[in-house]
């Protein structure tokens, strides 16, 4: 029997990338993509092959580093959660214009239903926008195979390729069969050394080259085997099933006895021939997409005058949220089972800050100071500390995107809301907060920035923080006055002192920074456990 590895979708992609001969992975953590890079970081194969894998400061720096590696002729993978692609959008879109030299694959993990995100944007829009091929696996084996294929595709056409997954596949485990490893590329520069200079005169040429590749991308999708049309005798409906949705469809036909023709989509741009064959042979079309109704909207067209197209836009499927077997069954008029009624006594159990988390002490102190002011002045950011929005703390008023605490506070003070407070985590600060702080210094905005420095990226499970032991120096370097950079230790026993420091700095009518410095108790606990284990092992060796 062939040995199967039991892998998460994320891990299958990581193993696929290692086996495809990548020389580096560049990433910033973000659920549900984090485990890809973590897998490579702890893989022996990756270590032996010297694959670089440390975290980048943010998705933009990750994307650009990867483009650099591609320029130098080697294969690189970039991983991020969907909103990370907003941050990396500039280099991402432009990498389509420069084209790739070494294989360049961008993984974006979408989160329909917002299990742990602030929106449910669909990365396929970005792929279409950039005009590059998109791969969308339906299961863990395909995740492995497609990752490898994506690198070949990238080098064949000299283009970046977008690999799109959703939470369900990222975090679901199944058996995966590995294939032989491809050796890493040798260092080799592009034959055209001007291709990466996007001066308008060159960019125009490059853009035309990209436009010229479009029909080849489509032809490739028609023959790769990832877009497949299978017949069915009942032509009252034809189904288009993108990515994971294919499984939700087939769940209802365990004996492979689906009566309708179905077009399974794993690669974009979708081959028009296949689409046309389906369209011409059926009465109406049901589109299943785990995300926004992209294909559905294209098929309908703005006037919707063709055949009946069903999906999210006509209400056959809810407009928001991830798909599941029941939603697909209802769209197909199949009978759905009902379980027991959920008893009314069941209460929600939202996530909360860990017992003993430093953020609790910081926000308890801040809350006390803010009693002196009218409510609505605390601009916050994204991280564990965002949970301070919920009872019992209810400290913060905003959380929009990474880094927005400082910059929104600037705008609010410009509008007259003085004082305004920003609270931001250490990893978020180096991700996107530093430039905002520079703006504040340059405009002498009367804001107080509390940097929750817990020495880690807590929210995503405790990855190394690019800010480690650097926060104070960075603030000084950016130009915050030394006497207005204060360091507090968020512990209950220092509560009164901390309240005093926060009050003093809020009273200062310029830029002040308070660094609330105490390690995340989760990473602390993990370190202590590891230490104890090492000690025990050392003792038993003696």
């Amino acid at each position: 029997m062939i040995q199967k590895l039991l892998l998460l979708g994320d891990e299958a992609i990581a193993q696929g990338a290692i086996d495809a001969g990548i020389s580096g992975v560049y990433a910033y953590p973000g659920t549900p993509s984090t485990e890809i890079t973590e897998y490579i970081q702890s893989s022996n194969d990756a270590r032996e092959r010297k694959i670089r894998s440390s975290w980048s400061a943010n998705e933009k720096t990750a994307m650009e580093s990867a483009i650099g590696m591609s320029y130098a002729g080697k294969r690189s993978l970039i991983c991020m959660k969907h909103v990370g692609l907003n941050v990396a959008a500039d280099p991402f879109i432009n990498s389509a214009i420069t084209g790739a030299n070494g294989g360049l694959v961008v993984l974006s993990a979408d989160d329909p239903s917002m299990h742990s995100s602030q929106n449910e944007q669909d990365s396929r829009f970005y792929g279409k926008f950039a005009m590059i091929p998109i791969m969308e696996p339906s299961n863990q084996q395909e995740a492995y195979d497609m990752t490898r294929y994506a690198f070949d595709l990238s080098e064949k056409f000299g283009t970046p390729v977008l690999l799109r997954i959703t939470t369900r596949l990222a975090h679901s485990r199944a058996g995966v069969v590995r294939k032989a490893i491809t050796e890493q590329n040798k260092l080799h520069l592009p034959s055209n050394l001007k291709q990466f200079i996007l001066l308008p005169s060159i960019a125009r040429k490059q853009f035309n080259i990209l436009l010229g590749k479009q029909s080849a991308f489509e032809a490739e999708a028609a023959t790769s085997g990832y877009d497949v049309l299978t017949g069915g005798n009942d032509t009252s409906i034809g189904v288009i099933a993108c990515g994971l949705s294919y499984n939700y469809l087939m769940e209802h036909y365990p004996d492979d006895d689906l009566p309708y023709p179905v077009l399974k989509i794993g690669q974009y741009p979708i081959p028009r021939d296949l689409l046309n064959q389906l369209y011409e042979s059926v009465d109406e079309i049901l589109v299943l997409e785990d995300g926004y109704p992209i294909i559905e909207e294209l098929l309908r067209g703005i006037l919707n005058k063709g055949k009946k197209i069903r999906g999210r836009m006509d209400g056959s499927i809810p407009l928001a949220g991830e798909l599941n077997p029941n939603i697909v069954a209802i769209a197909l008029n199949l009978k759905v089972e009902k379980g027991h009624d959920t008893p009314s006594i069941v209460e929600g159990r939202p996530p909360s800050l860990c017992e003993g988390c430093s953020h609790t002490d910081t926000f308890t102190a801040l809350n006390e100071v803010m009693l002196d002011y009218s409510p609505g002045r605390v601009f916050s950011d994204i991280g564990c500390y965002t949970l301070s929005a919920l009872p019992p703390l209810e400290s913060i008023n905003t959380s929009v995107d990474m880094g927005a605490s400082i910059t929104m506070a600037i705008g609010a003070t410009d509008a007259g809301l003085i004082p305004s407070i920003a609270t931001i985590g250490d990893s978020t600060f180096t991700h996107s907060g530093i430039t905002g702080l520079l703006d504040a210094v340059n405009t002498k905005s009367p804001i107080t920035v509390i940097i929750n420095d817990n020495s880690t990226t807590g929210m995503t499970g405790g990855q190394d923080s690019a800010a480690f032991e650097k926060v104070e120096e960075i603030c000084r370097g950016v130009g915050v006055e030394a006497e207005h950079i204060r360091i507090i230790k968020p512990l209950r026993r220092y509560h009164d002192e901390n309240v005093k420091v926060i009050r003093e700095e809020i009273n200062y009518k310029g830029v002040s920074v308070i660094i609330a410095k105490r390690e995340c108790i989760q990473t602390l606990g993990r370190r202590m456990k590891l230490k104890a284990l090492e000690k025990r092992e050392a003792e038993s060796d003696n």
Partner: protein, 194 residues
């Protein structure tokens, strides 16, 4: 063979360990499996669930369809009730710990929670913490619950034992022993009441 299992609990209670044990045992028996986990935000003391599907045939969906689960295994009583809409009304079993994990202010009276569990036909509720403590450590409460669910898994008890041995092998022998005892104690309890 075909089992759809919902694992439930609160972040940090060890439902993924249960999933790993069942998954490893299933592989030992040459079965296929898919297991959807919950990571990220919901782990921090919030509700967590995992869909575990085992079959001798290929499995399509990573998610179990509503009303089709054969088994709910929960390490927390109120959490077990959160997913009863997923349970197969005609044959599904609900196996849960009776020990509440109270980290919210509006946790319902535990008597009401237990009553609601007992109102579900085919249920097993077990004081897993007490049983685990009797075996040596309250930490093995999750494995006690797994033991109580073992008669309904469609996987042999020996495979579960082998899985525990291989998973905990990296830790010390005592931990393997503790978990094997916890598994047996849970199974005993379930056997006695059926």
């Amino acid at each position: 063979m075909n089992k759809d299992i919902i694992l439930a609990g609160v972040g940090g209670q060890g439902i993924l360990t249960i999933a790993t044990v069942i998954g490893t045992a299933a592989l030992l028996e040459g079965l296929q499996l898919k297991q959807a986990e919950v990571h990220g935000m919901s782990q921090r003391g919030g509700e967590v669930q995992s869909h575990l599907r085992i079959s001798s045939n290929a499995i399509s969906s990573d998610l179990i369809p509503e009303g089709k689960a054969d088994l709910i295994i929960s390490i927390e009583p109120m959490e077990s009730l959160r997913y009863v809409h997923m349970l197969n009304k005609k044959k599904g079993w609900l196996v849960t710990s009776m020990n509440p994990f109270i980290n919210i202010s509006d946790y319902p009276p535990i008597e009401d929670v237990l009553q609601a569990i007992w109102d579900i036909p085919r249920n097993v509720s077990i004081d897993a913490e007490k049983v685990a403590k009797e075996q040596g450590s309250v930490k093995a409460a999750n494995i006690v619950v797994l033991g109580a669910a073992s008669p309904y898994l469609g996987i042999s008890y020996e495979s579960l034992e082998k899985a525990i041995e291989s998973i905990f092998a990296r830790k010390c022998k005592e931990i393997v022993k503790l978990n094997l005892k916890a598994l047996a104690a849970g199974k005993n309890y379930a056997d006695k009441r059926t």
